[in-house]
């Protein structure tokens, strides 16, 4: 139904004073965290040169740490925040100066933002009533949406008589009753407890198949981003770091920040030196020389690397336990180990670098705790293919174009 296109979108707050007052409550603390943001003569740059074309019915997730500008971007799409520069189009029409109510969008807020004096039914009927939809159609649409979300039995209740999960369903219901072109969600699951969050996440995936809307979803939780998004936009300090499918951002992170942000536990980083030799590339790191596989070597050659200081990264899941005398094995000591159930997260230090290993417990024998005692030596290795290379100076992925 609707494509959303953001061209060179920029948000500048004239000064920090002003920023503080634009946001009440929880957001008042944001300006302090925004210390990494670029400050120009015009003010603080909260979002810088944001470019994104969102296809019809696509599910795009904006993700990043607090104060990275993801919510501001969403609020600019909603029309709740003015756009300092660039052009926003929805369905081909420029929307920069259009009032929120005329953009044909709906929004779900983190705090639900239900009308406390109205019943669930009235909350959901409110946007339709304002659009002068006939009474019988309102009734039909509200009941249909309530059915979809499983809140039919609560229609006569006031929001305060509902639990957090139910309130969030009502908020989603209010957003979907009028079939908006674009559905904006601002951290809708952050106020829910962990179990409910997983459940609602699955419901959003189901919901998404049932309604014809383009989704823009903001979260700081990378799990939500990975599971929900068709495409993920990773932001930091108001600047887009990478746009891509969940596989792309996981397998080919554009830079150190993306590599560290996506994936739990975080990717392990260590410094090393990459050298081209007669037999191929060799990574000299952690007192070990690791021969790089020919495929990766080709890509490195294409990138024009001969000798370079790099930061290398390996995902914890791609590290295997090894014997200390195996070729390519690295040795260190265990700092702490956490049993997660199906896996054990072992934190080890090797040559001053912290490593996290995810070791499956399924084909494990013997007592777990004793195997990974604190301070015990540990040896591990990883496939050379699993290593990501980042330029030590710029943090950019060397191989990814």
């Amino acid at each position: 139904m609707a494509e959303v296109s953001l061209k060179h979108i920029t948000k500048i707050y004239p000064n920090i004073e002003k920023t503080k007052k634009h946001h009440f409550g929880k957001k008042a603390a944001e300006p302090e965290k925004k210390s990494n943001l670029k400050v120009t003569d015009e003010g603080v740059v909260a979002v810088e040169d944001f470019n994104l074309d969102i296809a019809d019915r696509e599910f795009v997730v904006l993700v990043g740490p607090s104060g990275c500008g993801k919510s501001t971007t969403l609020r600019m799409i909603a029309g709740l925040e003015s756009i300092s520069g660039g052009e926003l189009t929805i369905d081909g029409k420029v929307m920069n100066e259009v009032a929120p109510k005329d953009r044909d969008i709906a929004m779900v807020f983190q705090s639900y933002a239900l009308y406390p004096h109205m019943t669930v039914y009235d909350n959901m009927a409110f946007p339709l009533k304002l659009r002068k939809v006939p009474e019988d159609q309102i009734d039909q649409k509200v009941r249909q949406a309530a059915e979809t979300l499983g809140i039919t039995q609560y229609l006569d209740r006031k929001p305060k008589a509902l639990s957090g999960g139910q309130r969030q369903r009502v908020a989603i219901g209010r957003a979907i009753v009028r079939d908006p072109k674009v559905l904006l969600m601002d951290e809708p699951l952050s106020n829910l407890d962990a179990k409910l969050r997983n459940q609602m996440r699955a419901e959003i995936i189901k919901l998404r198949k049932r309604i014809n809307a383009t989704f823009v979803y903001v979260t700081h939780d990378q799990t939500e981003a990975m599971t929900l998004g068709d495409r993920i936009v990773i932001m930091k300090d108001g600047v887009v770091q990478q746009v891509g499918t969940p596989q792309e951002v996981f397998n080919e992170p554009a830079n150190l920040f993306v590599a560290g942000f996506i994936g739990v536990p975080q990717m392990n980083f260590f410094d090393g030196h990459l050298e081209k030799t007669a037999s191929g590339y060799v990574l000299d790191a952690l007192d070990t020389k690791i021969a790089i596989s020919p495929e990766t070597g080709k890509a490195l050659e294409a990138a024009g690397v001969t000798s370079l200081d790099v930061t290398a990264g390996v995902r914890p899941e791609q590290i295997q336990l090894a014997n200390a005398d195996e070729p390519g094995a690295m040795s260190g000591t265990i700092d702490v180990s956490e049993l997660m159930g199906s896996t054990v997260h072992v934190h080890a230090s090797v040559e001053g670098y912290d490593f996290v290993l995810v070791i499956p417990t399924i084909d494990f024998d013997g007592a777990l705790g004793r195997s990974f005692a604190d301070g015990a030596p540990i040896s591990f290795k990883f496939e050379p293919n699993a290593v990501h290379f980042f330029d030590k100076a710029s943090g950019k992925n060397i191989i990814k174009p």
Binding site: L80, A99, K101, H117, R174
Partner: protein, 288 residues
């Protein structure tokens, strides 16, 4: 430690007893004037001064005669004083509630120097005593024709705005901004956002501000006395003042009866709304 605990509990209980007694005494002192008014309104005039605190006896009991005397005293009909009092009270309170809630919403939500100045002025107006401005005010009110029961609410709006805006701003600030943003996305302009979303949420504060303003306007004596044309329009407090005879003689029994009649509506109103006033004051007070 185990031995000490029962002792502490016992002393705590004793403290509570003492406090209960102290506060009971304070309560009795507090309601005594009202009780006196009620008792004396049923006594013959001559007994009011001599047996002020005694209950009416067979000898001193006057029945309803004090009420009849009070209501028919002089040449001004009591019911029209009652009517003007009610009219001024209702109009003023309505005006204060509507205007101040709107103004407070604007002040709380729009961040500008102008709003800060207005807010400060409103707060400041609470500090200025009425007596300081009353003569210039009565002259101004005369000039602007604000001296009728239909226009005096505008003067009350000016005097009531300080407290009302202070309370409303405190409460509006405690309402999450997201709700209004949701309304904007759902299709409300500023006017509908205010009347359909913000105003219903302000209900507890509306009621508590309403109660405070009603009690104040209903009981106010000085402002209507100075501004209104006394021969034409009288409110109940003014009418009570006129019960005084021309040579300084006062029919105390009748005065008490009229005072009681003036008190009753406010007490009834307060009792029926008191659960809201506490809720409202607390609601506004949490975040200021």
């Amino acid at each position: 430690m185990a031995n000490q605990q029962p002792q502490t509990l016992a002393s705590e209980a004793r403290h509570k007893k003492i406090l209960t007694i102290v506060f009971t005494i304070i309560c009795v002192i507090w309601v005594l004037p009202v009780v006196c008014v009620a008792i004396n309104s049923f006594k013959l005039n001559t007994f009011v001064k001599t047996e002020t605190f005694a209950l009416p006896t067979e000898e001193s009991f006057a029945g309803w005669s004090n009420f009849i005397t009070g209501m028919t005293f002089g040449n001004y009909p009591f019911w029209s004083a009652f009517g003007y009092s009610a009219l001024i009270t209702v109009l003023s309170t309505a005006l204060i509630l509507v205007c101040c809630s709107m103004a407070a919403w604007y002040i709380a939500r729009v961040d500008s120097k102008f709003c800060k100045v207005i807010y400060t002025l409103c707060i400041f107006s609470m500090v200025v005593p009425f007596q300081m401005v009353m003569f210039t005010l009565s002259k101004t009110a005369d000039t602007l024709k604000l001296n009728t029961p239909w226009t005096i609410p505008i003067v009350y709006l000016g005097f009531g705005a300080g407290l009302a805006i202070f309370m409303f701003v405190g409460f509006v600030k405690s309402i999450p901004l997201e709700i209004e943003e949701a309304a904007a996305i759902d299709g409300c302009g500023p006017v509908r956002t205010f009347f359909l979303v913000v105003l219903p949420m302000l209900k507890p504060t509306l009621i508590s501000v309403g109660i405070l303003e009603i009690m104040w306007v209903w009981n106010d004596y000085l402002l209507p006395y100075l501004v209104l044309d006394i021969n034409q329009y009288r409110t109940i407090p003014i009418q009570i003042q006129y019960l005084k005879g021309s040579y300084g003689t006062v029919d105390l029994g009748a005065t008490m009866a009229i005072i009681l009649m003036a008190i009753i509506p406010v007490i009834v109103f307060y009792l029926s709304c008191q659960k809201y006033i506490i809720k409202g004051v607390a609601a506004g007070a949490v975040k200021g």
